[in-house]
């Protein structure tokens, strides 16, 4: 009897509960956040998610949202898992008058959402991750991967290495190792590096690290034996910390070890302590909390007790990455409101907002983020924008990152050809006719 009641109750709950999704006010800007605060990638996911959430909260508190329309930021936990990401997408896309934009925060989920969101006419903003060839706006009308792609970074790393060696021709005969997360994300740069190794004559060593990346002894023994001149890393989560520790234990010179911009936050270098001094990583924005926007976040969000994270972690690299992501997203929505003259834009209109997004130095200053990142302009054909990358270096004594180079441009000859090739292959496989851009 008791059992029966229990089973019945459970059955009813199981059937009825997923129906009760929150119904929001119509005049709100729904921005879902498929974030991860749990799972193996949580240490990196948390500051990133906090940056995004705090920036939107600040806009709501300070300006009453974007152009007077409140932002309804809905978080959904994915644990960096693709299947849970799909559930999140389906669950959140209909909230209010429909989701306006997705930031999947994972390459796997981005790949899932590219066809789905395109069909549902919701833009996907995979900021510096996801599918590189989505840079071709003619084939991927709803996907944006500005400000630069993995291929840009790979090319910039090679450029930097060449510069340090004393000229690109000096790369001939050098050895470069790529330590990568053995997934779609980690494999992205391989094709570009292969092309570049042909062009410049360096030898490329590929070293895969399996998820989640705690076990890298064999990888670094190999590096110790082969002594590559440069090591590039495409890592995420715990893999970064382990790699930097292992590199220091074989005494690999840190200033010849460059991480992608997902391998360059405080979380990644602090476990190695002093030994991480000199480690390089890519970036496209500043670190630190000495910007007006940060002051506003503290004043309007944290002083009111509405902050999502710890106050003293504001300004970390990944936190700032969240801010820059939220800033470009909100600017795109603002742009869409202006173009279409509406207070309540749709996903399709926000796409137009992204496509004509132009955040120049003046606009950054207005936003309280002067010099925080470089000016960005997106067009219908080019969904990546400038594709510029700078390198930052970790100072273990001071405990901060500092920019050590200007913003480099990547090797467009190589990359544009690869993007065209890969995006057209996708178009052919999925029967997409590339659209024309005016």
């Amino acid at each position: 009897m008791r059992l029966k009641l229990l089973t019945k109750a459970l059955a009813v709950a199981a059937v009825a509960m997923p129906l009760t999704t929150a119904v929001a006010d119509a005049a709100e800007l729904t921005i879902p956040g498929t974030i991860y605060r749990t799972g193996p990638y949580a240490p990196n996911g948390i500051p990133w998610a906090n940056g995004i959430a705090d920036y939107y909260a600040m806009l709501n508190e300070r300006d009453g949202g974007i152009e007077g329309t409140k932002i309804n930021y809905v978080e959904c936990e994915t644990a960096y898992n693709t299947k849970q990401g799909v559930e999140c997408y389906e669950n959140t896309k209909g909230i209010g008058s429909g989701a306006l934009v997705y930031q999947p925060m994972s390459t796997g989920i981005t790949y899932q959402l590219i066809p789905k969101a395109t069909e549902d006419k919701i833009p996907v903003f995979s900021m510096g991750y996801g599918r590189t060839s989505a840079a071709n706006g003619k084939v991927f009308p709803y996907v944006f991967n500005m400000p630069a792609t993995y291929w840009d970074q790979a090319s910039v790393f090679v450029k930097y290495a060449g510069e340090k060696e004393g000229g690109m021709d000096k790369l001939k005969g050098k050895k470069i190792a790529l330590v990568y997360h053995n997934s779609a994300y980690g494999k992205e740069p391989i094709r570009t590096l292969e092309e570049l190794s042909k062009k410049h004559g360096f030898e490329l060593m590929l070293l895969a690290v399996d998820h989640p990346g705690q076990e890298q002894k064999a990888t670094w023994l190999q590096i110790r034996r082969e002594r590559p001149d440069w090591v590039f890393m495409w890592g995420w989560g715990v893999m970064n910390q382990v790699a930097i520790k292992e590199a220091s234990s074989i005494r690999y010179p840190m200033d010849h070890f460059i991480g992608v911009w997902w391998s360059g936050s405080e979380n990644d270098v602090t476990p190695a302590g002093e030994d991480a001094h000199g480690y390089l990583s890519a970036t496209f924005h500043a670190s630190g909390d000495n910007f007006r926007a940060h002051d506003d976040i503290k004043k309007f969000v944290y002083d009111k007790g509405k902050g999502h994270g710890d106050r003293d972690r504001i300004g970390e690299v990944l936190y700032n990455r969240g801010i820059v992501a939220a800033m470009w997203t909100s600017e795109a929505i603002r742009n869409a409101m202006r173009i279409h003259n509406t207070k309540n834009p749709t996903g399709e209109q926000v796409r137009d907002g992204f496509e004509s997004l132009n955040v120049d130095a003046k606009r950054l200053a207005v936003l309280g983020l002067e010099g925080f990142t470089y000016p960005l302009q997106v067009t219908c054909e080019n969904h990546t924008g400038p594709g510029k990358v700078a390198l930052q270096q970790w100072d273990a004594k001071k405990g901060e990152w500092s920019l050590v180079t200007d913003f480099y441009s990547s090797d467009r000859d190589v990359i544009d050809k690869l993007i065209a090739e890969d995006s057209m292959a996708y178009a052919k496989e999925n029967n997409i006719t590339p659209r024309t851009c005016n």
Partner: protein, 358 residues
């Protein structure tokens, strides 16, 4: 009271051997199928299709496959994720190499390919048993995922190693790709799963199924009464892998649409399907469905209750959800070690003796 069987006489062997011998059961299953086929498609939306129903159906099919091997033939397997990958990659290679091939044929062929691979990895089962076999199938899991991640031919040399399912039609209806309607995809999965469940039910009731169960219960005794272990075990591996392969093909083509081997088919898949089978009930067709529903719906339900109902922060809700799911699994296994299917059976017995159950 609810299950009054008085007056239901069987007058032929045929009636005695029917799958559902009790009229009420027949009526219940029939009504369930009518609703699933005739009513649900009219109300289904993207969320119900992608997050819940197709999700459950695909895992129910994988659970059926593993149940044949582990539940009926007693061979423990931890290679389910790897075999699902074989199904998915076989369907990907077939459908991209022969775009005009009917998708149903693609599905069956990828099941066939998986059956061959499964038989190959089942060969050690003739010598090794129990936990040792589990380790051997674990090797299959790691080897297969490694293979699909390493060899470019399997993913058509895409730069990321990701496979993306191209749009395909069945009888003029799109069933894969983003434009396929949720109702069509749901109906397709439901039809496949219904046919396969019916087939499984009949296989396990027949000579082959009985030989599997004999092997499971005591292999030496089975050998003495004339069951050939080679035939029985390898046929179990073949049929089971066929099911798992088809489930893998549906999982990749109809449900996810794209997949990368290290995430979509990792060891956790194998454990997940094993959980489904154990929680649902070993050696039960219904159990595969109950187990899949439990493993898929409980986390989503808990999340919905905590986040939307009680306003938990999503990160905290996830931690609580993982703990609660673990506690619930243990609770159900303590209440009924033979799984949800057995629980349902007990419930049915009690309903038959209503209002004086004992």
């Amino acid at each position: 009271m609810f299950y009054r069987e008085a007056g239901q006489f069987k007058t032929s062997y045929k009636a005695d051997q029917a799958i559902f011998t009790i009229t009420q059961d027949k009526f219940f299953v029939g009504a369930f199928l009518v609703i699933a086929f005739g009513v649900v498609p009219f109300f289904i939306d993207d969320y119900w299709a992608n997050a819940i129903l197709i999700h459950v159906l695909v895992y129910a099919l994988a659970g059926l496959g593993l149940n044949i091997l582990t539940g009926y033939c007693g061979q423990v397997s931890l290679g389910t994720g790897g075999f699902m990958a074989v199904g998915a990659y076989a369907s990907y290679k077939l459908t991209t190499s022969f775009p005009e091939m009917n998708f149903i044929i693609v599905l069956l062929l990828s099941g066939g390919v998986t059956a061959c691979v499964g038989m190959f990895f089942g060969l050690p089962s003739l010598r090794i048993k129990g936990f040792y076999l589990a380790v051997a199938t674990l090797a299959a899991q790691f080897f297969l995922v490694w293979l699909f991640n390493k060899v470019g031919w399997f993913f058509n040399y895409s730069p990321t190693g990701m496979i993306v399912s191209p749009p395909r039609e069945v009888f003029g209806f799109l069933i894969t790709g983003p434009e396929a309607s949720p109702a069509v995809r749901y109906l397709f999965c439901l039809s496949v799963v219904t046919v396969f469940a019916l087939a499984a039910k009949n296989i396990v009731r027949g000579r082959i199924g009985r030989s599997w169960m004999a092997i499971r219960d005591m292999d030496i005794a089975a050998e003495l009464i004339g069951i050939r272990p080679l035939e029985a075990k390898l046929s179990a591996f073949a049929v089971s892998s066929f099911y798992v392969g088809v489930a893998g093909a549906l999982y990749f083509n109809v449900w996810l649409g794209s997949a990368e081997p290290t995430e979509a088919f990792d060891i956790f898949q194998s454990f997940f399907v094993l959980f489904i089978v154990i929680i649902g009930g070993l050696g039960s067709i219904l159990g595969s469905f109950l187990g899949a529903a439990f493993m898929v719906l409980v986390p989503i339900t808990l999340k919905t209750i905590m986040v939307d109902g009680m306003g938990f922060a999503v990160g905290a809700a996830k931690h609580v959800e993982v703990m609660l799911l673990g506690a619930l699994i243990i609770f159900f296994l303590i209440v009924e070690p033979h799984g949800l299917a057995r629980l349902w059976q007990i419930l049915k017995e009690k309903l038959r003796r209503w209002p004086f159950p004992y």
